[in-house]
Symmetry: D2
Subunit: 261 residues, 4 copies
């Protein structure tokens, strides 16, 4: 399907503020950029680099005052995500070298502290995709989707304790449970068609059956219509903007829209 996604951001900087944004998707295996727009107002010099996860990152300095960042992308994406009900566990021995890193604990996914819980949750699900699917449905059934419970410092353990969180927290819990069972898992941020209320979204991918599969514990059923903006270990790596000024950048307004075209 073809999706057109728009994200418009109004920010205010008390003084010149260096910014790194991750707002430009890349064409890859399962998504193709038909058209793409990235505009700044006022115009300032901006450069782009690729980080160690392969994400495009834009660097600029927000000058004192207000700035508007407007991105728009039209992409060809799968209407359905791939589901592989019986995809088996991939042995560590068979994992590509660049996948191994996604077995490690990270800031918001302290899998080193969550060994036993994962096994309780998956129960006797078959090794591999079925285990991850079980983790997903467990999160969906046992955590409440609620704003205001979590903050930027909330990790997966905190979320399990709170029993609630938002998409980012659900993804962290899913990733942590996977890793604690030696299933590589990574964070994804992007757009999801039909999300209510519309916003930037976060979900995760797990490596089973020899490849990455998409999982989203905020949804009752697997669902396509996704545009990936960035991959990382967890939310620390994939902030859509990171500001490095003397004072924090203020986000005045943010508007996200995703429509089928």
């Amino acid at each position: 399907m073809k999706l057109k996604a728009t994200c418009t951001l109004s920010v205010t900087a008390a003084s010149d503020c260096p910014l790194v944004a991750m707002l430009r998707p890349r064409s890859g295996q399962s998504q193709w950029i038909i058209s793409d727009r990235y505009d700044l107002e006022p115009w300032v010099p901006v450069t782009e680099f690729v980080d160690s996860y392969g994400n495009l990152c834009q660097r600029l300095i927000v000058p004192q005052g207000r700035m508007r960042i407007a991105v728009e992308v039209t992409m060809k994406v799968p209407a359905q995500i791939e589901v592989a009900t019986y995809a088996p566990r991939t042995l560590v021995t068979d994992m590509p070298a660049d996948v191994l890193h996604y077995l490690l604990q990270s800031r918001y996914c302290p899998s080193d502290k969550m060994q036993s819980q994962a096994w309780d949750i998956v129960g006797n699900a078959l090794p591999g995709y079925p285990q991850v699917a079980k983790i997903c449905s467990w999160i969906h059934d046992n955590l409440h989707y609620r704003y205001g419970v979590s903050s930027s410092t909330t990790d997966a353990l905190d979320t399990l304790e709170h029993g609630a969180g938002v998409c980012r927290d659900f993804a962290h819990v899913g990733i942590t449970l996977c890793r604690s069972m030696q299933i590589p898992a990574r964070m994804v941020v992007g757009y999801l068609h039909g999300l209510q209320p519309m916003d930037l979204h976060a979900w995760f991918e797990a490596f089973v059956g020899g490849r990455w599969y998409t999982f989203d514990a905020t949804q009752a059923e697997p669902r396509g219509g996704r545009i990936v903006l960035a991959y990382g270990h967890d939310a620390a790596d994939v902030a859509f903007i990171s500001d490095y000024g003397m004072q924090p950048l203020r986000i005045d307004d943010m508007f996200v829209d995703v429509v089928a075209v």
Copy 2:
């Protein structure tokens, strides 16, 4: 300045034909993609990868019959290219590791065969930028810009012998002369605003004064308004399309347009 560049390509494949294209620019130090469009008709699955030079490459299979590839990009680029009349030679010792490779001979730039000629041409120009500028003006003054003299197998030595060629040939001669004097040089393909007749264009960059500078021997004066599509050692690395079918892909039509917006 803001440029809008369009390239539309109609091709015919006698049978399914794998294709690698390099038609999507990247944002970088001196160019920023404000908007970008890349469309295929009929639609076929396409993926994108980054080659070892950092170029975006699109892979697809042109199905039997006709296909139209249409790309359009609006970019912020410098109206003037930087000129550094006295930038000194960079010692090999001081070159970044990823620049060293551009000292080596390559398919169309056999600098191992052109040692003495370079020194005759640069004469007593000061080491560094002045030498490359001298090479550029020598090419501009001594080679005729003429279609039909060169083919896809023509290298820099052939062009010197013919005394004529097109932009790609001029760039090859410039690169080869630079390298034979231990100045790293690389091929650039892209768009040039105001080019007559309008087409995809090729020029080169040389590494002096600690960075890459743009040179274009087809022009009497340094001139900005450029959009870079790809970098490489020479034309072998930066073909805007490479086809790998049983029969060669036929290009029926190609339309390039670059306007200031």
Copy 3:
């Protein structure tokens, strides 16, 4: 100076156990491998890859039973580490793209939770190297070097609470404090000549004055004689061995020796 470092490891696997080791240093800016040995007994197939931090990683399967891994390296390293008493803070704007990532919070260095503390510690130290030096001496003066207080799940906040830890914990605290002040910092593991008792060691580097400098809060004074084995965000990235078997690998014995030669 020339150092010869030896690390011999005896492990027991209850069943075949996939292993990733980081026990082979690389030659780089400030260390040169004169000779290097890496032996396994019994011999099993082993491959090597480079992770996203540039570290060499060895992959193998420890067969059921005992295995001995013996590495030995003779390196040319600086006898003194470089100290730049007045190196200024590097503005985020001026940091190379691959340094930015070391500003982010990570598993053991939750800098997002430690903003105010850093400023209390550095007080009126000048921005840059002096701040990091102050952090280092504060850690050295205020934390006790003691075994048994920390475990593999201990992060920098835990260590501050305990008031004690080992080299890895000291490094985590240093890194976290630096990052919370927008100074990029990274974990280093390796060998230190003269360490008492001898063992693998951990310290950190901070990016000030436009480059990385070495800091070691376990030492009263800056001290050279170091061989770097691996860099990472924190201990999660640089475990000298990571095992992925059904049962954890047992380390029966580990012997480290570093002598000047």
Copy 4:
């Protein structure tokens, strides 16, 4: 099998001479460094970087006068190279992105000029491995192994004309013929156990049946006991030393030895 290879090089520089060497192998899929030594006399600072092919490159400045470079490596390598008599052609569509580049013409392998010849040579050999094997035996049977015919500027076409050359020339011809049939091929330099007379050696690899296979047209039969030092498009990329001084570096003496241990 275990091989111990030694290469000792004595050079003389008329004045300080920047040097890039490729004399340190890497552990990889099929070779493992058990021990490694790399010594310089006199000692000068030296750094190491990884080029775009993944090769280790050593940079140093040879001071005016004589220098001795001594490398020694003990490696575990396959006693037999893998032969896959019926491995089929890999379709371009199925090639990994990083393999595509080895389809392109290069300095010494102008495959764009040698289309028809390849088909004459392979005749009715089955597509894939059998074609490359046919190319290999054709070279072995039709070209004379003879010193003094070729120089550093000799490409594959020159060698076919001369009807003779050395290992590097044989490899260039093999690579060029493969590429002209859309089989990716790359240059390999390294050590071969039992080579007569002993020297550094060059051969090639072709990508068929979904992976790289080793071919050596200087040998009547496939033969193992190889240590790979470097990969590249052709000899331009894999010179064991490249010197960039005012005057060329003089090689006074070079000694290579490879023994089974």
